[in-house]
Amino acid sequence: MAETTSFWERLGFRKASGVGEAGWGHTLFAAIVSLIYFLPVLLIIITSFKLQTEALAVPPKFLPTSFFGLIPEQFVFTPTLENFTSVFSRAYVAGGAVESTGFDRFFFNSIFIASTSVLLALVIGTLAAYGFSRYPLKGNDTYLFIILTTRMLPAIVVIIPVILMFRVVGLAGSYLGIIFLYTAFNLPFTIWMMKSFFDELSLDVEDAARIDGSSDAKVFFKICLPQVLAGLAATFVFGLILTWNEFLFALLLTGVDTRTVPVAMNQAVAGGGIGVLWGLLAAIETLFLIPVFLVTFFLQNHLLRGVTFGTVKR
């Protein structure tokens, strides 16, 4: 019988390989666990639709609707989109002029800086990983350990000399500086991860291609790289998640024009001396979550396959 993808299968009701298969009973159990685990995030998303008074209400107002009177009124709030609009423009003084908060710029910065540096680290790191895997240097393990060591110190210690260095060179507050720094920040993990992928590949195919007269470059691009695509996807997602949310480097090294969302978020938290604006902060975080959530969701299959492929010995 020809296999067709039905509507239900596209929705995720599909059978695939795994340690085994389970039915809807397992789904129910997993759904309960996942929802409990997801609850703090869900509360952030709910808070983003609340006004400040509702966010601080006692008892807490959980739900946007009373479900036709099933839920007592005291637990119900009226959802508002005000927080989302005031992420991008709001009046700083009550009754004052509505000004742009610059968050559109910060979102652009976050996307631009994170994606560029992760891709750059992926290119450089993949080359290096291939080198470490196929052409071991003298003391290969020592080099790899030193690369890991660069992630062991508290970031603040690395950052002070970098700040001094950037001031001298004029890179402070520029895109180039922070992208370069994040590239270095992502490299150790990229190299360790990609090396384990290359280590797992069978050398026979490569040798066969070499005997047939393929150049080293051709072997790398036409044979090795296609086999580790899943690994590249997995490494990309991990790197993106870490860079996307990086705070300390961004705080100390970005200027007004290159500020990323986590830094701006921190300032919004502290802003104004009237306490934290919970709804606004939740709205920023919710918007900020969407891009990385979507990327992870669409690369999810690769993520699992990729990690599997890379690190498990056959």
Binding site: L127, L153, I156, P161
Partner: protein, 353 residues
């Protein structure tokens, strides 16, 4: 047959050739030292940079001519890491031997005094010791919580079931949140007046609950937030191991009526051991640097100060750059010893079986 080109012989030390890296190093060093001594800092920086580029170029040409592809491939990564990580690290290692504050101009060499002060001063030594024990406690608690929760979640998702993809992404979400948001929102959940935790306890007939009023509560709060955020990382790695176990092994075990426990240790565990080790390694390294949740939840109060937060305070808030550097090198020493010990044990295990 592949045509194996015979590498050219290396040039003599004195010949001026693009691949004579030994000469390049000698010239580069001499010019850099002269520049640092004779020229102002802003100019000598560029001269030194140009010399470094020249040496690098010589290495590249040399590697290309002699077919050292390994070196050639690794070079860009090493260059970036050297400029952005290793050089700053060496710089701060150097700073740790000086008395230097980033808000002052004066700098003077004091040798090992910073380290000596940290280890023997009657005010600083107990503080260091307390911070170290706190950090060790956080490392043990957060990492073991992450490993256990991550492992259990992975077991839950190892089977294929309807809607799995959609439930899995829900569990992965905490990892994608910003640290700032996690810290701030957990302080919101823990708040004694309007926080969720306190209100639930009140609803069950308790008093207003102040989690952060005791050390145990504060530690529990921090560990919970951190473990919640990073368990998905462990889960993802373990899950990858679990789904890679070939199904026929379980089928064979079922035919032989092997007990579930033995089935796990003899079939499943060997497949996930490597990934568990990798997760443990990366999470331990990160846990030693734990600072953000502490800053946002307790500000180090209630004896929850960690060494990483202490370094941030000294180096950033009090501007004692060199003392902070010295402190972090003590920390680095501890982490390197532990990591090496761990890698040694892990390697011996995997070779032993």
């Amino acid at each position: 047959m592949t045509s194996v080109a015979i590498p050219e012989p290396a040039p003599d030390f004195t010949t001026i050739a693009p691949d004579n890296w030994k000469l390049a190093i000698a010239v580069g060093l001499a010019v850099s030292v002269l520049a640092i001594v004779a020229l102002p800092a802003s100019l000598s920086f560029w001269v030194t940079g140009a010399m470094a580029a020249m040496v690098a170029a010589a290495f590249v040409v040399n590697a290309y001519r002699r077919h050292y592809y390994g070196g050639l491939l690794v070079a860009p990564a090493i260059a970036v890491l050297f400029v952005m990580n290793i050089f700053p690290l060496l710089w701060s290692l150097g700073l740790s031997f000086f008395a230097y504050q980033s808000n002052q101009q004066s700098i003077r060499f004091i040798g090992l005094r910073n380290y000596e002060q940290l280890l023997t001063n009657e005010l600083k030594a107990p503080e260091l010791w307390a911070n170290l024990t706190n950090t060790a406690m956080f490392v043990v608690l957060t990492v073991s919580a992450q490993m256990i929760v991550g492992f259990l979640l992975a077991v839950l998702f190892a089977k294929q079931f309807p809607l799995r993809k959609y439930l899995l992404i829900l569990v992965l979400t905490p990892m994608m949140l910003s640290v700032v948001a996690v810290g701030v929102f957990f302080s919101y959940y823990y708040d004694p007046t309007f926080g969720l935790l306190s209100q639930i306890i009140k609803a069950w007939g308790g008093e207003q609950f102040i989690l952060m009023s005791t050390k145990a509560g504060a530690v529990a709060g921090i560990v919970f937030a951190d473990a919640w955020m990073w368990s998905p990382f462990v889960m993802l790695l373990v899950l990858a191991g679990l789904v890679s176990v070939p199904k026929y092994l379980y089928e064979a075990a079922a035919i032989d009526r092997v007990s579930g426990w033995r089935c796990f240790w003899t079939i499943t565990f060997p497949y996930i051991r490597g990934l568990l080790m990798l997760a443990l390694l990366f999470r331990t390294i990160e846990a030693f640097k734990l600072a953000d949740p502490v800053i946002l939840l307790t500000k180090g109060g209630n004896d929850t100060m960690t060494i990483s937060y202490h370094v941030i305070r000294i180096a950033n808030e009090q501007n004692k750059t060199s003392e902070g550097a010295a402190l972090s090198y003590l920390l680095l020493f501890v982490v390197i010893v532990l990591t090496n010990l761990y890698l040694y044990v892990a390697n011996r295990r995997s070779q032993g079986t």
